[in-house]
C-alpha cells in the first residue's frame, strides 16, 4: 500500500473506502432502506397469517378484539405518532448541526417510546389477568359481538397473533430505544456533523418504520367489528 494516489488527508468522519460524504450518505441511506424492506417482509409473514385467520374466524377475531382497550390503543397510537415527530425533528437538528436540539428531541423520543411501552405493559397485564394469554392458562368464555357462540380455540389464535405482532413490535421499540440512547451518547461526543449524521438519519428511518407497523396494527387488532 505504499503507492496511494491520494494526496490529501483523510476527511473527518469519511470511511476510507468511500470517495465523498455524498457517496457515504447515499450508501448509508440505501442500506437502511434495504434493511427496512426486509423488516417489512419479516412482519409481512405475521400479517398474512393474521389475514388468513381473520377471514376464517371473523366472529372469533371480532370477539377477541372487543377485549382490547380501544382508548389505550388510540392513546398509544397518538404517542407513537408524536414520537415520530420528535424523531424527525431530532434528525433535522443533526442536519443543521444543532447538537442541543438533536439531543433534546432524542430524549423526547425515548420518553414517548417509553410511555408507549409502559401502556403496553399495562395492557399485557390486563390480558394476563383475564386469562387471555395463549398457553396452559388460556380461557375464553365470551360470546361473539352478536351473541353467537365462539370457539375458544379460534379466539386463542387471535390472541396468539395479538401477542406475536405487538410483542415483535414492542421488541423493535426496545431495540430502537437502545439505539437512541447510543445516539445521545455519540452526539454528546460531537460525533455528528451536517456532513455525517448518517446514524441519526438511519435510526430515524428505523423508528418511522416501527411507527408505520403500529399504524396498521392498531386498526387491525383493536377495531374489528366495533360497529
Amino acid at each position: 500500500m505504499s503507492e496511494m494516489s491520494h494526496g490529501h488527508e483523510p476527511l473527518p468522519g469519511l470511511a476510507h473506502h468511500f470517495d465523498s460524504y455524498d457517496q457515504q450518505r447515499e450508501s448509508a441511506t440505501l442500506g437502511m432502506w434495504a434493511f427496512i424492506v426486509q423488516e417489512v417482509m419479516f412482519f409481512g409473514g405475521l400479517f398474512v397469517t393474521y389475514m388468513v385467520y381473520r377471514r376464517e374466524y371473523a366472529a372469533a377475531f371480532a370477539a377477541g378484539s372487543h377485549h382490547l382497550d380501544v382508548k389505550l390503543g388510540a392513546f398509544n397510537t397518538a404517542v407513537l405518532i408524536a414520537s415520530s415527530l420528535t424523531m424527525a425533528l431530532a434528525v433535522r437538528g443533526a442536519q443543521l448541526g444543532k447538537k442541543k436540539t438533536l439531543i433534546g428531541f432524542l430524549i423526547a423520543t425515548i420518553l414517548l417510546g417509553s410511555v408507549f411501552l409502559g401502556v403496553k405493559t399495562v395492557e399485557y397485564s390486563h390480558k394476563w389477568h383475564e386469562h387471555h394469554v395463549p398457553g396452559p392458562h388460556f380461557v375464553f368464555e365470551s360470546t361473539g359481538v352478536h351473541g353467537e357462540a365462539i370457539d375458544p380455540h379460534n379466539a386463542r389464535i387471535f390472541f396468539s397473533l395479538y401477542f406475536a405482532m405487538t410483542g415483535l413490535h414492542a421488541l423493535h421499540m426496545v431495540v430502537g430505544i437502545g439505539i437512541l440512547l447510543w445516539l445521545i451518547w455519540q452526539a454528546s461526543r460531537n460525533r455528528f456533523t451536517p456532513n455525517n449524521y448518517n446514524y441519526v438519519e438511519g435510526t430515524g428511518l428505523y423508528w418511522h418504520f416501527v411507527d408505520i407497523v403500529w399504524i396498521f396494527l392498531f386498526p387491525l387488532l383493536y377495531l374489528i367489528g366495533r360497529h
Partner: protein, 548 residues
C-alpha cells in the same frame, strides 16, 4: 499489461499476521476466506450425512440405521447443505472476494457489517452443530407442522434458531452487495458494462433481502407454536398446517435461485474467458437474472400441489412455474451461442462450466416436468424430485462453485494448482455425480418414495449404482481439498492474469493488495472485450509510458 515483479510484495494475505488480524479484519477478501473455511466444514458434515444415507440405501432392508435415526440423518443433511453451504456458498466466498474488485472499489459498502455477517453465520452454525451433536432434528429440513410443532421429540427450536440466525447473515450480505453495486462502481462503469457475475449477485441479493425475512418469521412462529402452543399451525385449534408450508416455501423456493443464480454468474465469466469471446446476448443474460429473481417469488406453491391447496391456486402456480424456466433457458441459449465459434480452451474451470451447463439443463427440464401438475401428483415425494433438485443444486450450484474456485484460485491465493489433478477431479466429479443421481430419476418415476430407509428389493440395483456413484463423488470432492492446500505451500506463483482473460480482477496482482488497486481504474467500454482494452489507469499508464 505490465510484467509482474516476482520479488516479495505486500498483499492482503501477508499484510498483517496473527489470528486477531483475521478475526477482526474488515477486508472483504479475508472475510471471503473466513467463509471458505467455515462453509467447507459444514459441507463436510453434510457430506457425512449423505454418506450414511447412501450406505443405508445400498441394501433394501433398513439395516444400518433405525428409522428414527435415518430421519435425523436426512434432515441434518438437508439443513447443513441448504442453510450452511448452498445458500451462503458462492456469494459469501466468491462474491465477497470479487465484487469490489470487479467494480473497481476498495471494499464493500459496509465492511464491518460484512464481518458481522460471518460471525452471525458462524454463530447460527454453532446452534445447528450443537443440535447435530445432540441427536439432530427428524422433521425433514422443511420442518413441516404439526409434526415439528406438536410431536417431534428432537431439538427443533435449537435448529430453528440456527436457521433464523444464519438467515440474518444472508440478509446482511445481500444488503451489502446491493448498496455496493449501486453506489461504488468505478468511474465509467455503467450498469451494462458490469460483468455478468455482478448482475447475477445483484439479482441474488434482491432475493436474499426480500425472501429470507419470511422464513425468519416462519421459524419464529414455529418456535412460539412449539413452546407456547399458540395454535396457528395446529388443526386441533383451527390452525392450518398448510399455512406453514406457504410461509416456508415463500422463501425456500426463491432460495433455490439464491443458490443457482451466482453459479450462473460464474458460468458467464468462465465461458467468456475460455471461449475468448464476449457473452452473446449480454443484456438478455443480465435481464434474465432479474427475471429469475422476480418470477422466482411467484411459484412457491408448486411445493404444495398435493398438500391440500385449492386446485385453482395449483393451476395458477403450475403455469407460473413453467414461466420461470424461460429466463433460465434464455441464459443457456446465450451461453451456447457464446461458445459457438469461440476459441475454446479446455482448462479446468471450463470443464466445470461445461458440466454445469449440461447438468443444469437436465435439472431445469425435470423441473418443468415437476411444474406440470399432472406429473407432480405422481412423483411428488419420490426420488424423482430428489434427483431433480440434486441436478440443479449439485450439478448446477456446486459445479459453478468449484468452477469459480478453480478459475479464481490463482487470484485468491497467488498460487497455481496442478493441472492434471484438477482436470482429473473434475472428470471424477462429473462421472460420480451422474452415477449417483441419474438412477434416482428412474427410481422416483417407478415410485420409490423419498425419506424412506428401506425399499422393495427390485430397486436394489439402481440404489447400489447410486451409492457407488456417491463414493466416487466423495473422492472427487476430496481431491481439490488436497491440491488447493498443497498449492498454498508448493504451488507456482500465479501471474496477475494466468488465463489471459478480460476483467478488472485480472488487472491487479495475484494476490491483490488490501486496497485492491493502487489506483482506481476508469472503465471506457463493455465487459469481456477481447478486441481492445477498456480499462484506464491514468497514473500507472502515464508512468509506464514515461519510462519506455
Amino acid at each position: 499489461m505490465s510484467a509482474e515483479a516476482t520479488s516479495p510484495r505486500i498483499n492482503y494475505l501477508n499484510a498483517d499476521y496473527g489470528v486477531r488480524s483475521w478475526l477482526f479484519t474488515k477486508d472483504h477478501k479475508r472475510i471471503a476466506l473466513l467463509y471458505l473455511g467455515t462453509i467447507t466444514v459444514f459441507f463436510a458434515l453434510g457430506g457425512l450425512m449423505a454418506a450414511l444415507i447412501r450406505l443405508e440405501l445400498a441394501t433394501p432392508a433398513g439395516d444400518l440405521l433405525q428409522p428414527d435415526t435415518y430421519n435425523r440423518v436426512f434432515t441434518m443433511h438437508g439443513v447443513l447443505m441448504v442453510f450452511m453451504f448452498l445458500i451462503p456458498g458462492i456469494p459469501a466466498v466468491l462474491g465477497n472476494f470479487l465484487i469490489p474488485i470487479m467494480i473497481g472499489a476498495k471494499d464493500l459498502a459496509f465492511p464491518k457489517i460484512n464481518l458481522a455477517s460471518w460471525y452471525i453465520f458462524t454463530i447460527g452454525g454453532l446452534f445447528i452443530l450443537w443440535s447435530l451433536l445432540n441427536g439432530g432434528v427428524d422433521t425433514g429440513w422443511t420442518f413441516y407442522t404439526p409434526y415439528s410443532t406438536s410431536f417431534s421429540n428432537t431439538h427443533v427450536v435449537a435448529t430453528g434458531l440456527g436457521v433464523f440466525i444464519t438467515g440474518f447473515s444472508s440478509i446482511l450480505t445481500g444488503l451489502n452487495f446491493i448498496v455496493t453495486i449501486h453506489r461504488m462502481r468505478a468511474p465509467g462503469l455503467t450498469w451494462f458494462r458490469l460483468p455478468l457475475f455482478v448482475w447475477a449477485h445483484y439479482a441474488t441479493s434482491l432475493i436474499q433481502v426480500l425472501g429470507t425475512p419470511v422464513i425468519a418469521i416462519t421459524v419464529l412462529m414455529l418456535a412460539l407454536e412449539r413452546l407456547f402452543h399458540l395454535g396457528i399451525f395446529d388443526p386441533a385449534y383451527g390452525g392450518d398446517p398448510v399455512l406453514f408450508q406457504h410461509l416456508f416455501w415463500f422463501y425456500s423456493h426463491p432460495a433455490v435461485y439464491i443458490m443457482v443464480l451466482p453459479a450462473m454468474g460464474v458460468a458467464s465469466e468462465i465461458f467468456a474467458a475460455f471461449a475468448r469471446k464476449r457473452i452473446f446476448g449480454y443484456r438478455f443474460v443480465a435481464f434474465s437474472s432479474l427475471a429469475i429473481a422476480v418470477l422466482g417469488f411467484l411459484v412457491w406453491a408448486h411445493h404444495l400441489f398435493v398438500a391440500g391447496i385449492s386446485v385453482y391456486a395449483a393451476t395458477v402456480f403450475s403455469v407460473l412455474s413453467m414461466l420461470v424456466a424461460v429466463p433460465s433457458a434464455i441464459k443457456v441459449f446465450n451461453w451456447t451461442a457464446t461458445l459457438y465459434e469461440g476459441s475454446i480452451s479446455w482448462e479446468t474451470p471450463m470443464l466445470y462450466g461445461l458440466g454445469f451447463i449440461g447438468l443444469f439443463t437436465i435439472g431445469g427440464l425435470t423441473g418443468v416436468m415437476l411444474a406440470t401438475l399432472g406429473i407432480d401428483v405422481q412423483v411428488h415425494d419420490t426420488y424423482f424430485v430428489v434427483a431433480h433438485f440434486h441436478y440443479v443444486m449439485v450439478g448446477g450450484t456446486i459445479m459453478g462453485y468449484l468452477g469459480g474456485l478453480h478459475y479464481w484460485w490463482p487470484k485468491i491465493s497467488g498460487k497455481l494448482y496442478p493441472v492434471f489433478w484438477s482436470k482429473l477431479s473434475a472428470l471424477i466429479i462429473f462421472i460420480g455425480f451422474n452415477l449417483t443421481f441419474f438412477p434416482q430419476f428412474l427410481l422416483g418415476y417407478m415410485g420409490m418414495p423419498r425419506r424412506y430407509h428401506s425399499y422393495p428389493p427390485e430397486w436394489q440395483v439402481l440404489n447400489v449404482l447410486s451409492s457407488a456413484g456417491a463414493s466416487i463423488l466423495a473422492v472427487g470432492y476430496l481431491m481439490p481439498l488436497v491440491y488447493f492446500a498443497w498449492s498454498m505451500r508448493y504451488g507456482k506463483p500465479a501471474p496477475a492474469n494466468p488465463w489471459g482473460a478480460v476483467g478488472l480482477e485480472w488487472e491487479t496482482p495475484s494476490p491483490p493488495p488490501t486496497e485492491n488497486f493502487a489506483e482506481i481504474p476508469v472503465v471506457v467500454g463493455e465487459a469481456y472485450d477481447y478486441t481492445q482494452r477498456n480499462y484506464r489507469f491514468p497514473l500507472r499508464d502515464h508512468h509506464e509510458v514515461a519510462h519506455v
